[in-house]
Amino acid sequence: MKRRDFITKAVPTGVAATTLPFLMDGASLKAYASSPLFAQLAAAAQTDRVLVVLFLDGGNDGLNTVIPRNNPAYFNARPNLGIKNSLPINDTLGFHPKMTGFDTLYKDGRIAIVQNVGYERQNRSHFRSTDIWFTASDSTEVLSTGWLGRYLAATHPDYPDVFPDHPLAIQIGSTLSLTFQGPKSQMGLAITDPEQFYNLIQGTDISGGDPPPDTPAGHEVKFIRGVALEAFTYAGPIRDAANNATNQVQYPNLTTGGNLPGQLQIVARMIAGGLTTPVYMVRIGGFDTHANEDTRHPVLLEAVSQSVEAFMQDLKALGVEDRVLIMTMSEFGRRTKENGSKGTDHGSAAPHFLISPKVRGGIYGHDPDFSNVDRSGDFIYQYDFRQIYASILEQWFGVPGDIIKQALLRDFATIPMIESPPVGVDDPAFANGFVLEQNYPNPFNPTTRIFFNTPGGKVRLTIHDESGRIIQTLVNDHVAPGRHEVTFKARNLASGTYFYRLESNGFKQTKAMTLVR
């Protein structure tokens, strides 16, 4: 069986558009990671697929981005800023009217909207919360390496002693963010424009000379020499790639917040021009709309929406659209209630977007819940932002679980939002006789039966809620080989989607079931 098929099987089809934590976490892939074939294929997949991180800097007002358009509580909270003419997504939600590009992409099934993304103990400092997103830390811990830095370091342990042919990550801009800081060194480089970058390097002689002394100054000299060397190494390949491709569509002239269309144009050319760099980062600023949000926010959303649409069209014309995934990030959403200056202060959870022809388009998570808010009146997060990271690493890059763990430091339930990379590998778990069958009856109330097959040994069967928490452990014991049946009775549980997961001897599988009271 191909791995692709395995993953498809692991995800109950038909429920992809609902909330569905994908509990087949990193560990399940760990078994395959030992196979050299798998490692090879995983590496091949990594070089082919590209992640573009789109940073909405300043704290995007998610509530005026994906709008609960029929909810009176929304208009109560936003007497001046409430948007009445949103572009309908479904019966309850709509895009901001300036987001026509996103509307089109969504209708094409190219956008996965993840609702209520945040984390436990939301920090409302821009700087601290940005670091939390960059480093994938808990709110109460301070990390000094970034999640993409750790990911790239795990897959390229020799860097920077050995430079690969192309950069591991490129941030369009003049400095590199904390996201790309690895344990040993920065894992990417910042460039503004390929041609200028190349020209600046020409004619320079970097005389390194002697090893720097073990002093603070020596330490800084070592750092600067490293940057110089990196610039030298990559100036040529980057320029060549950018020159190999020409943008095929007109990008909008919307430069508010830092010329996002210009940045995306460069990224498109580098991808299509043959650079094998797997990660890019672009940024648009200005989302800190404490005042006059009614005029400031729409132009930003327009810039994001139109630029991304042009970028996707360009990638399509260049023949590389299937290789690219965009992920948005922003340090927090904004306060649900507007303030007295026609603006919004710092809030908590907010929607985010995954954009690609390869996403399973739709809405993940529930609508903003005005009845369940924190002390500031802001939304409780439903998805930890790191679940998105884990999902991307798992489903987009198809990397083994131990690498995901190295990047994210913890296990996170993933969300099946992306079609997995075409990695072909035999599935030893299936060959060994593991099967987790669909429960019966389904939907159920309040009792259902779960069937599984095992070659024998220690088995753990657990029930989980939507956020991945274990509600009940049904089996945690050694069992005989063969088919088994377990009855689950839902006591004191509300209607909704639940998951059951089988773990045995390295095999893990999860299926969804629906309780209807």
Partner: protein, 535 residues
Amino acid sequence: MNRRSFFSQAGLTAGALVVARKGGSAKGRGGDKNKKPPREQYQASLKGLPETNRIRPKVAAGLEPYVPSEQQPWDEQRVGHLLRRTMFGAKLDHIKMALKKAPGEVVDMLLADKPLPNPPGNWVSENWDYDGSSSADRKRDAGRMKQLRNWWIELMLSDEFSIREKLTLFWHDHFATEYLTVRCPQWEYGYLNTLRKNALGNFKQFVTDMTTDPAMLDYLDGRLSTKGRPNENYGRELQELFTMGVGNYTEDDIKEAARALTGWTIPLLVNQRPRYVWAIQSAFVPSRHDDGEKTFLGQTGNWDYKDIIDIIFQQDVTAKFICRKLYREFVYEVADETIVDQLAQIFRRNNYDLKPVLSTLFKSAHFFDNAMIGAHISNPLEFGIGNCRSLNISNSNIDYLFLEGKVLGMEIFQPPNVAGWPAYRTWISSSLLPTRWAFSDSIVNGTMPSKYRFKVDVLAYARLFDDPNDARQLVTDIATHLINYPMSQNQLNFLLDALLQGAPEYEWNIDAPNAEFRLRSFLVALLRMPESQLS
């Protein structure tokens, strides 16, 4: 080198590519309101550098005064260290003058008070009369803003032997505002005056002045914040960035501070849309002030902005927060917490007067320790203006120096956000480092666009040294002057090659026809060395 590269880069950065918010200058702590994480977490988070990559200087010396010794002599290098850290670059005549004085005396000179400079124009005291539909008004303000920033660059470039402009820049970074948000040149002038006036003064008074400063009231929305409809923007940053640091207050403290700070606004004198006339002084309007009871940092009362500031300055963490920031700017990125604690005690004992803290620090054996020399990554203005000053360039183009700062990520009056510039290693990237090379090439060779053109008089500069006809001596002297880092024999040989370009050493003569060309090649090579980015 493509000499246009530096400039095309300028055009690009202007519109397109802003310095990313942060390479991770987290000021510190997690969101747990009750638990105080250990102090080490501050350090770990600074500028996003992994702990394993950070070097903690092992410096035994403390804040006791530095006494010159055989091992740590009061020589060109150590004088240059003090001057480079407290001013822009180190001019040779300043070094010579300082060498004749005791270190403490030199520090006293650097910290001396002096009158404020004359303003850049009479317009600074006019009300802001602005018609949004008038391109003439926009042009007028753009012109005034240019005048204002050039006035400041000029002061940095020409200021004689004083720390003031360097400190003013430090405070601009600390109490950041952005011109593109504030827009009124008069307010930005007033704000710069508030920075300069308080740069060496009393920090509590500084915070009080800044809280009612028109530019700040506009930038962080204080002028819009009213009773019943408070805006939390300033209330948050006052605590997070300006005084205590993240983790030392709760979200409720922010809300309560925002209420107490209400009432200050900027009077709108004429409101005839699209024409507005704004006052250039802020005013307290009692009807806009929330005079109810507030609980701030555990204290309850009918607080106003002064009470909030009083309470903030009752917190020990405030002195430490500021002293740590001063240390990281003026000594080394990785703060020595023992020294920070001692400085904070001095700060509190002196009721938050800045001068005793700075004086103790700059006179200390700790500051002058070998380990600290050359360990600071120069910011773009230290690099640009500093090299122009050190090279004795008398005709530098002010517009060009402003642009240099902007291209390299330090546009004055336009920091990336309210946290100021992330600084330290974010000043150097694969994009910015080659751009720095292009800039230093241009001031040596005059390869900038003609309207900005100037270059160093290399012959005059070389003749300032004792024996300009001794190639080896000249290379060593210039390297010692421009680079605060111990150069190895290999590096000196490389530089000597750059000067001689194959000619035998004995043929070198400063009066030879090709001496100027060779000196320029040598300076280009020297300023491109990684060591030239340090001070």
